[in-house]
Point group: C2
Chain length 253, copies 2
């Protein structure tokens, strides 16, 4: 069995712990967090560690902590032959250069504490400091997911910013729309089927081809009617995104 140590107690650490424990080939021997109280997701008290010097020798060290804490942890972490990986979308592999064997194990998904996830469907973006280590990580990743991608540090940075656009920013647009509905005493539920279809459409169309709406049609009457309804901040967002759609689709501004 492959001996694994997980470092961290956040959403990624928790979900990876749960997913790893379901496989027969991986044995999580320890989980580290500075505050041991946050390790309540770990079933066995003897596996919980809050003193980093108590970490044993393992085959895989999985660092799933905040970006800004990775450097400090790597300074304190020691291993002879284990492969040390981080799970960050924005940090380079380079940050782990002190270790003989290193890699990145980046799950491209948004995790919440309460919502269970199906790792089989989550893209795992892998990188390693050698072909051998990459193969090793691929084998481990394939135990929990069907979607394995080889992604270098540059590509991972592009994915990370893409994730902000498709997840964080879209969700913010949903929030603004929820606000418009609330002001007019309409339930947010009324928008759910449209939001669902917006995404379902992408199963058959690429997003460029799926584009519709007044910006694409250059329907100036509707655009100005919309702008009239919005406050200054929303107006700026509406204008900028409308212009961006028109530029990308080669419409006259």
């Amino acid at each position: 069995m492959i001996k694994v140590i997980i470092i961290g107690a956040g959403n990624v650490a928790t979900h990876l712990y749960k997913s790893f424990t379901k496989t027969k080939q991986l044995d999580i021997i320890q989980v580290f967090n500075r505050d041991i109280d946050h390790l309540d997701f770990v079933d066995n008290a003897s596996k919980k560690v809050s003193d980093i010097s108590k970490l044993k020798e393992a085959d895989l060290y999985l660092i799933a902590i905040k970006d800004e804490a990775i450097e400090e942890i790597t300074e304190k972490l020691d291993t002879k032959n284990g492969i040390v990986v981080h799970t960050s979308g924005s940090q380079p592999l380079q940050i782990l250069s002190k270790f003989k064997n290193s890699g990145v194990f980046y799950p491209l998904q948004t995790f919440s504490k309460i919502k269970p996830v199906n790792f089989k469907e989550i893209p795992l973006c892998l990188e390693a400091n050698s072909e051998e280590n990459l193969e090793y990580l691929k084998n481990i990743a394939s135990l929990i997911s069907d979607k394995i991608f080889e992604v270098n540090s540059e590509q991972r940075k592009a994915l990370h910013v893409s994730a902000v656009f498709v997840n964080n920013f879209s969700n913010h647009l949903f929030t603004l729309a929820a606000d418009f509905c609330k002001k007019e005493e309409l339930p947010f539920d009324i928008l759910r089927p449209l939001i669902k279809e917006t995404v379902d459409k992408l199963e058959t169309l690429d997003p460029y081809s799926a584009q519709t709406g007044p910006a694409l049609r250059n329907d100036k009457k509707t655009i100005s009617a919309h702008l009239e309804m919005l406050d200054e901040d929303r107006k700026k967002i509406y204008t900028l995104l409308t212009e961006s759609i028109q530029k990308l689709h080669g419409k006259k501004l």
Copy 2:
């Protein structure tokens, strides 16, 4: 049976035609379009009309055409007792004031020609010029959908602008992300599970509570790393949406 005439040959007209013909209570007696060639979705040639003066007396006239054409059609349309409705999100009920019985029948969804839709799940937003007519429209709407909403003209305008935010603008963000991926030779498929989860999350969380990301965390390091990767146009969008998230969630800018 309720005699229905549909006016128009676009996506909404086509999908409403298909959905109406499946019910036993509605009898589509005619479908009008200036260009009869666009009425290929109508099964019976004798029902196709391109001369508006040939329209018969019906119980319901459903105008599903471009906003800018509605006024011209209403000038030419005549009925004694039929109820005339339009399907536009942005036009007031008022535009049909010449008719004794009028209303709005606005399906809040994005339609493509090729993709079949399940009307049962589509919110139908209804308005009418009398209580009696509203009840009449509710009865008809409930034959094809389980989601009937009473929505006045002001509310409908708010819904229409909301639809632009949740559908058009989100889809544009997906397009920009697809572009980032393409430049780094990554398949768009890698982002699909994240997009899907962004929307699935809304089944258990409202969008305000579902917000995550560097803007919300006020993670300046990540934000500036992202900005460095973007061209001027994308940078503007990133900055504006980041600021908007931070304002809404009461973060220090």
